[in-house]
Amino acid sequence: MSIGDKLRRIRGEGGAGRKEQPPQAREEEGRSKDERIDDLRRRIREILERRPSGPAAARKSGIPRGALPGEEVRTRRGSVLVNSSRILRNDFHGKRRICETAMPMDRIGVLAGRSVFSPFRCEDALFLDTETTGLSGGTGTFPFLVGLGWFEGGNFVVNQIFARDFDEEAALLTCLSDVARERKFLVTFNGRAFDLNLLATRYILNRIDNPLSGMPHLDLLFPSRRLLGHRLENSRLATLEKMVLGVRRDYDVPSSEIPQRYFDWLRSGNAGLMTDVLEHNRMDVATMAVLVGHLCDLFGSADGFAAAADGSDLLALARMCIDRGEKFTAERLLADLIAAGPGPLGTDAGTELSLLYKRSGRWAEAAGIWETMAGRDPGCLFALVELAKWHEHKTKNFRTAEALVAKALDNLPGDDIDWREALLYRLARIQRKMGCNQNGVNREE
């Protein structure tokens, strides 16, 4: 008896029922026609599922090999299929031309949050995206397709390494090693949590040194989420490309179907299943190339705004720059936003920039911003309070400070008790100081 039969038998999965006709026949009468048809369907399905489909058989007979794009590349660990394509410098991918992607390394450093990129050039970047047999992680997930991209003479090259079966994994990894050796840093989308982890696992399993470990890495997910995610429903690459980059895909395989497509390919050898996946992957790699260009362009130039940039993205970028200690860039971005005129963005930018100035002791410049803010919105609590502090502590113009606090109190919503108390406390202190000053005693805190 086969293991399958034994398993079915001990689980009591109907095996014995077939042998013993009478009880089943009795059961049969009691059931409705629909139930019987359902049962029949189920049994037919079971039989069909059991029919040997000869996983590799079809492929070995040579039907599909030629049908997949790409050419066979020989490595030290066997052969693998590599599909090479190229996006020419003036070709559009979405709204952008591929050659518009410049990668100033200081900006890449800010985006990645690390400054290790400065010695590199644009051509040193290796864009990487994998397609896998599952998303769950763990050692049983297999990256059957590794899409790689890089700039070469202004054009963008996409090389896709495809394992036609599991036994081509070592070749795939070796081939990836060879490409990686030519490049200096990695660009991925969510590679930190997924692709690179997975590849590290596969290198260990195949006992090959991992060429990617230790390579500087820009994971675009984090800066994209921070700079663009605030106005999108999610920060998936597909959303970004549709909403921000204007990339259209005529037909795209949903990512969730990809593992099953590969399993079906293994069984059927139907190349059509894989061409869609290759195209999906190629698009992802190309999108990363224009996305990094878009993100770098948000920094703008010394002359002003990045073309067609969303102000809120710039504010997010300015905040990121502040966090990463890029004061000059932040100042420039914020000043531009303030200069663009009144409005909530201008107020936020004013707040950020004035606090930045205040922290660096540039009081006069900070006060200038507060004046502007209070000028634009006479009820701006933040500006009034900051100005009051400035006059109380720095200019010692207590009378102005007193007037500012009084104005702030007037503008305070009635139910904000905490603020009211703080303001009243401040007011009392200022008035106390005013009294002292009149008596000629200058007692500073």
């Binding site: 086969s2 293991i3 399958g4 034994k6 398993l7 038998r9 001990i10 689980r11 009591g12 014995a16 029922g17 009880p23 009691g30 059991r50 040997p52 996983p55 590799a56 047999t133 599952g134 998303l135 769950s136 992680g137 763990g138 050692t139 049983g140 297999f142 079966d165 599991f166 036994d167 590290a200 696992t201 260990i204 399993l205 593992p259 099953q260 399993f263 293994l266 069984r267």
Partner: protein, 811 residues
């Protein structure tokens, strides 16, 4: 009031005639001096210094022996009592190795998180003494995400549990490269807890662990510790797949202990009902606490813990207002702060009585108390010693008191104290090659690392499994390797401790359009408790089952108010598929092998509350459930049974009563839950069987027509598809089991059957008890007392006093 010492209280017990009437054993376990060996010469000087600083100038003999064996590269299993310093036997080799090779790694497995925490503390203290560069961490569901990476890289000792190893570590072994590529030791403590289904799973997890370690070029040494069971060496070998050196002689000193078995008096002889175990527990505990003697009580369930805690608080309060705070409950679910406060109060003697559940017998740091009261048999000899070990300071006498409930196991133990005191007959049984379990772990293993041609996994033919899984589309072969080709993550779907994760949810649809889940019923009991038209009860609310949808695993119920409940009528049909071994024993033919069990719910009875009148029947149409499993059975010659002075029906009652007793005794010997196995009385060739199911009264007669000739057979089978390894052992010890059943039944003071011997008299009939005894005598071919039997079950009492009390009680 003058306070009594524990010695004085014990001697008062001894001279209290009414107390002693209920005592079935009164044993003095004398103090024993320790046997010591010097610290081994090869010990690293820093480790030696730490040990000496902690007061270990010497080791116990068994510790030294274990260290030598491990040093020589042997896998060791250590079987010594509680508090005999087992942890040093693995901590010393691990620390020594870490000092010699700082990159060295060890993996510790404990069955619970609480035990892992205890071990972390103990190991941590020693490691800190060595300067702190040797790191240990627990790794389980409570480990914060941000700590995990550091643990994977840095911890020399990773302390975890089987479930985490199975689902959290092995499937991600590449992240644990550092651990596996330097893994020198694997420690498995509480080895005896890994038996039955859980143990069979763990054996496969260990196969996977060793396979992964081999991939990284390591074959770690195993150091295992177990409570006293009959087959520790065999069990370790089967669990780990290696041969073990066994160390089972303890060199640790022992303080004197008085061990008392107390069987509450019978209050209703007709039904065999005894006084509740709670009553004497309360009385004795209050007496001890009243004399300032710190006492721990173990109760079987959370509810009993709460009830007993309340009783003791009330009692203490009554004696002295404000004294209720000297009593504390202590069970799972208490917050860590509360636990720490209780532990602290115990050390400070602010608390004199603490009540805990059996589940907490391990892994609580409350120091050692003076007395331990076990309300009900903890279920195994090993567990009983472990609980009683909670009481016992280094120098002074301690008291352990076991109070029996009316279950067969409790009754057997208290009425046959030698079974407990004369060395353990308990066996740990596993079946790692159970097909269902094996195939689950082959999936996990394939996920972890592709299988290669020529590889083996377990005792069955691996290629067949691989071919089967490939046919199912779960694996894919290429070039002599089998790869995982499914999107899901197999370890997540396979639980190590449960038999079947599929539950049926009970949905209340009383409100129009409403859907409120009120309960979950496991798949098996769904058939008997939530079949259509059943009355299902939750917290004394009655619900009528409108529909049972097995495909969607839902039962739809509606709130009702009726004066009856329902009782399912089931039948169990058992057929022998394959006999593995046969022997003649006395007049019985004893066999074990593979059987097909069919169970079907055929109908239900409506039974009126209070009067228990039968007020109606209904039919139920549910699919028959079939299961192939392993069984042990014995057949008796009908002709001989016919010569006994009983009618056919009474004789069948006797067989059913005997099956009941045998079922309970088998579970006891195997430390199994009663539901891990099941019983059936039937014809050997399957032409006839007794309808006989849980909760349902058996019809006293045979199948559709009562044949004149049949071969009466008692089956005890594993209640897990494919079998879990119980049957061949039961086959081997058949005679001991029958002898034990005879003593259980004959020593039971009930008139004609009770839950403590052959089952409730209303279920088995009025002559079943007598008939069962006659059947056993027939089976054994002689009265059981005269037959040669193994010492564990037949040793006579050494304590004449106790024996005489027992005889008096029985006659």
């Amino acid at each position: 009031m003058e306070r009594l010492t524990l010695e004085e209280i014990i001697s008062r017990f001894r001279s209290d005639r009414r107390f002693m009437e209920n005592v079935r054993a009164f044993r003095e376990i004398p103090a024993a001096a320790g046997r010591f060996s010097p610290l081994p010469a090869w010990l690293h000087p820093r480790l030696r210094a730490v040990l000496e600083a902690r007061g270990f100038q010497n080791l116990y003999e068994h510790q030294a022996e274990a260290l030598e064996l491990v040093r020589r590269g042997r896998d060791v299993v250590l079987v010594t009592p509680t508090a005999s310093g087992k942890t040093l036997c693995y901590n010393i080799p691990v620390l020594q190795r870490a000092l010699e090779a700082p990159d060295s790694r060890a993996l510790y497995l404990f069955p619970t998180k609480a035990l892992a925490q205890d071990q972390l503390k103990e190991f941590g203290e020693m490691a800190r003494g060595l300067g702190g560069e040797i790191k240990s961490h627990t790794y389980d569901g409570d480990t914060p995400d941000d700590a995990r990476q550091a643990i994977r890289r840095q911890a020399n000792v990773v302390i975890t549990n089987p479930d985490m190893l199975h689902a959290g570590i092995l499937p991600h072994h590449t992240k644990w490269q550092k651990l596996f590529s330097s893994l020198d030791y694997v420690v498995i403590d509480e080895l005896h807890t890994y038996r039955g289904v859980f143990g069979s799973h763990l054996a496969n997890v260990i196969r996977r662990l060793r396979r992964i370690a081999r991939f990284y070029g390591k074959d770690p040494l195993f150091i295992c510790c177990s409570a006293t069971v009959a087959n520790p060496g065999e069990h370790a070998a089967r669990l780990v797949g290696k041969e073990f050196a066994l160390i089972d002689r303890s060199g640790a000193p022992r303080a004197a202990k008085t061990f008392i078995f107390y069987n509450p008096p019978v209050v209703n002889r007709e039904l065999g009902i005894r006084q509740s175990a709670l009553a004497p527990a309360r009385k004795i505990a209050l007496q001890l606490m009243g004399n300032g003697i710190q006492t721990i009580l173990f109760a079987g369930s959370r509810l009993t813990v709460e009830v007993l805690t309340k009783y003791l608080k009330d009692g203490a309060e009554k004696r002295e207002p404000g004294a209720e705070k000297v009593v504390a409950g202590y069970r799972g679910g208490y917050l860590p702060e509360l636990r720490r406060r209780i532990e602290c109060d115990l050390r400070e003697k602010n608390i004199l009585g603490v009540v805990g559940t059996n589940a907490l017998e391990l892994g609580i740091d409350i120091g050692e108390l003076d007395a331990c009261i076990m309300v009900g048999y903890p279920g195994s000899i090993a567990g009983t010693w472990q609980q009683s070990g909670r009481a016992g300071r280094r120098a002074d006498r301690s008291l352990a008191l076991l109070i029996a409930r009316s279950s067969p196991m409790d009754q057997f133990i208290t009425e046959n104290p030698e079974y407990f005191f004369a060395g353990s007959p308990e066996h740990c049984r596993i079946n790692p090659d159970n097909l269902l379990i094996l195939v689950s772990h082959i999936k996990c293993a394939a996920f972890e690392l592709p299988f290669e041609e020529g590889e083996s996994f377990g005792e069955e033919k691996l290629e067949e499994f691989l071919a089967y899984l490939e046919e199912k589309g779960i694996l894919h072969s290429a070039n002599g390797r089998w790869y995982w080709t499914a999107e899901h993550y197999p370890a997540n779907e396979i639980g190590l401790r449960s038999i079947d994760a599929e539950n049926v949810v009970v949905v209340d649809v009383t409100e129009k359009g409403g859907r409120r889940v009120i309960a979950e019923v496991d798949w098996d009991s769904a058939f008997t408790t939530v079949h259509e038209h059943a009355i299902y009860m939750v917290e004394s609310e009655q619900y009528h089952v409108d529909r049972l949808d097995l495909d969607r695993r839902e039962a739809h119920v509606r709130k009702v108010d009726v004066d009856y409940y329902t009782d399912a009528m089931t039948y169990t049909d058992i057929r022998v598929l394959d006999g593995f071994e046969t022997k003649q024993d006395g007049n019985a033919v004893v066999e074990h092998g593979e059987v097909k069990v069919s169970r079907k719910v055929v109908g239900y009875k409506k039974i009126k509350f209070y009067t228990a009148e039968n007020v109606g029947y209904g039919e139920v149409s549910l699919p028959e459930r079939e299961m192939h499993t392993t069984s042990y059975w014995f057949t008796l010659p009908l002709a001989m049974l016919d010569t006994l002075p009983y009618t056919r029906a009474e004789m069948i009652d006797g067989l059913c009563g005997l099956a009941y007793a045998v079922h309970h005794i088998a579970a006891m010997i195997l430390m199994a839950d009663i539901r891990d196995m099941d019983r059936c009385v039937a014809d050997r060739s399957g032409r006839w069987f007794v309808h006989f199911g849980p909760g349902g009264r058996k019809p006293a007669s045979a199948g559709s027509d009562s044949p004149e000739n049949f071969d009466p057979t008692v089956f005890i089978y594993d209640a897990y598809p494919g079998g879990i390894g119980f049957s061949d052992l039961l086959f081997r010890i058949h005679r001991d089991i029958l002898a034990a059943a005879f003593r259980l039944i004959s020593s039971c003071p009930c008139a004609a059957g009770c839950p403590g011997c052959v089952g409730p008299v209303l279920d088995v009939g009025y002559r079943a008890k007598k008939a069962a005894l006659s059947v056993i005598e027939t089976a054994l071919g002689s009265p059981p007392r005269k037959s040669p039997a193994p010492p564990a079950l037949e040793t006579g009492g050494k304590n004449g006093r106790t024996e005489s009390v027992r005889r008096k009680g029985r006659k």
